[in-house]
């Protein structure tokens, strides 16, 4: 069923009786050509592009809970492509271009809103670093714009410009960045994949891999064995737990990241802003809540909830940037589990086990990458060669010394 304004009017006049489920609820087949583990944004996008772009058939997405119930439902919904390094920037710019055409491609309203993202500058060395990053972005076909404090004041008059310690001296803006309705991304890709014949199997947990002579033959699940030509793991946050079942140790630690929403306010924040003197980022949802987050809690965790010291730290950062925020009450907070990799960048690669592929290590940048992650993973699965924008995301980059370390932190996952 195609969605359109006309359709909404027609259904409104006929009692909304014509709407159908957006995707089927099939029983698992005994075997598939491609089994994608993980019905989150990345897994569903992978299935969608594998079926649509690469024309593959007999594809299943298996999900232990319900689709979109993991990190695609637990993020701060920001999209951007403001990276510095060659291994990253072309990939994220590819992703942003896919976001721009996503709703027409999927025929689904994902509320993609290119309201702009602004990284604030508080010192002269920071300006130098952001000019360099802006130039790197422009060289890779993205947009970047250096703003003066006066230009920012016109758009965000309520920021703490004259802070004694961290005055705002300017900012690096990416106008094409913005926010997206996160759940709709999962639902849109699920509907798109289903319409191309992909089986989306929920409440089906992987309990093990069937590996014979170094070849992965399929997965053992809570709903029985499912054979597969190729098995594609796509469960960022739980990668360590899943791949341990295949006997693999990963360059990844799982950490908890908290995010927050204030009560609904009238429109105040026109775009996404990030603080340059602390770790704090904030936007306003279409419902009016300020959506914001900060640092990891900093210790290994699978608990999907954090502790209070980080709540205090994030709110302090917010208050020092937007003093007026103190008048808003905190409505909700939650924790999500991040695959924190050793260099802060993801991995999309084959494993040493034939027929088993891996996509993970997204740290806390996975949401913005959803379309490109799905596309390049589908490319890898379909052709067995990496997509042009994802050649650097290899497992062996640590052994070979080709880390993609945007922050220059070294092999310390909780600092990325």
């Amino acid at each position: 069923m195609r969605y359109s304004g006309l359709r909404v009017i027609k259904e409104a006049l006929t009692g909304h009786k014509g709407w159908k489920a957006a995707w089927r609820d099939p029983e698992p087949q005994p075997s598939y050509d491609y089994v994608i583990i993980g019905g989150g944004g990345h897994g569903l996008a992978t299935a969608y592009y594998l079926a649509k772009q690469f024309g593959k058939k007999r594809i299943a997405v298996i999900e232990k809970g319900w689709i979109g119930g993991g990190n695609v439902g637990r993020n701060t919904t920001i999209i951007r492509s403001n990276y510095l390094l060659d291994g990253n920037e072309p990939f994220y710019e590819f992703s942003l271009k896919l976001w721009e055409g996503l709703e027409q491609d999927l025929n689904y309203n994902a509320m993609v809103s290119q309201r702009g993202i602004l990284n604030l500058i508080h010192s002269d060395p920071q300006r130098d670093a952001f000019v360099r990053r802006g130039n790197a972005m422009i060289l890779n076909g993205a947009d970047a714009e250096l703003l003066s404090a006066d230009q920012i004041r016109a758009e965000y008059p309520f920021l703490n410009f004259n802070d004694a310690r961290f005055p705002i001296k300017g900012g690096l803006a990416q106008r094409r960045g913005g926010t997206v309705r996160h759940d709709a991304v999962a639902w849109g890709y699920a509907r798109g994949a289903d319409s191309h014949g992909v089986d989306i199997i929920q409440n089906c947990e992987v309990t093990g891999f069937r590996i014979e002579d170094g070849v992965c033959k399929g997965v053992e699940t809570s709903r029985g064995f499912i054979g597969a030509g190729k098995v594609a793991a796509c469960v960022a946050g739980s990668s360590g737990r899943l791949m341990a079942k295949a006997g693999m140790r990963l360059p990844i630690e799982s950490h908890v990241l908290q995010a927050f929403v204030s009560e609904g306010l009238k429109p105040v924040l026109p775009g996404v802003i990030t603080y340059g003197a602390g770790h704090f980022y904030c936007s306003q949802s279409d419902k009016g809540g300020l959506v914001f987050g900060g640092d990891l809690d900093g210790y290994n965790s699978y608990a999907q909830r954090g502790n209070l010291p980080v709540v205090e730290d994030v709110c302090e950062s917010g208050m020092s940037l937007i003093p007026a925020m103190g008048r808003a009450r905190l409505l909700r907070m939650w924790g999500g589990i991040m695959d924190m990799s050793m260099d802060g960048s993801p991995i999309i690669d084959r494993t040493h086990i034939e027929g088993l592929y891996f996509n993970g290590g997204w740290c806390y940048g996975g949401f913005k990458a959803t379309p490109a992650s799905g596309f390049v993973y589908a490319h890898l699965l379909a052709t067995d060669t990496p997509h042009d924008t994802a050649t650097a995301y290899r497992f062996d980059r640590f052994r070979r010394g080709y880390m993609i370390d945007e922050k220059g932190m070294g092999a310390q996952p909780n600092l990325h």
Binding site: G240, L250, F398
Partner: protein, 95 residues
């Protein structure tokens, strides 16, 4: 989280910084035949378990001792705290 320091008693985890898996105590032998492989695994690969996890915490704003804390990564419950010094000595790591 409260970490029950073996010498100082219960202390707020905010006084500590976190390093990671306590296997980092077991630094490989740099003269071994396969030292490159061993150091790759030591530096970059982790068990990352969901459940009981032995990990290194540094009492940065306290007595600056290193601790090995056994903590459940699914509940954050701490079940054991030892001085890293004692753990390393028990494994023959230092005199």
């Amino acid at each position: 989280m409260i970490i029950n320091h073996p010498l100082l008693g219960p202390r707020d985890s905010q006084e500590f910084t976190y390093l990671g898996d306590a296997s980092l105590i077991d630094r490989p032998d740099w003269q071994a035949e396969n030292a490159v492989d061993q150091f790759h695994d030591y530096l970059y690969l982790r068990d990352n378990p969901a459940g009981s996890h032995r990990e290194l915490w540094f009492h940065e704003t306290g007595d600056r001792s290193w601790l090995v804390v056994t903590r459940d990564t699914t509940t954050h419950e701490i079940t054991a705290v030892e001085l890293a010094r004692d753990v390393a000595r028990a494994r023959g790591r230092s005199k």
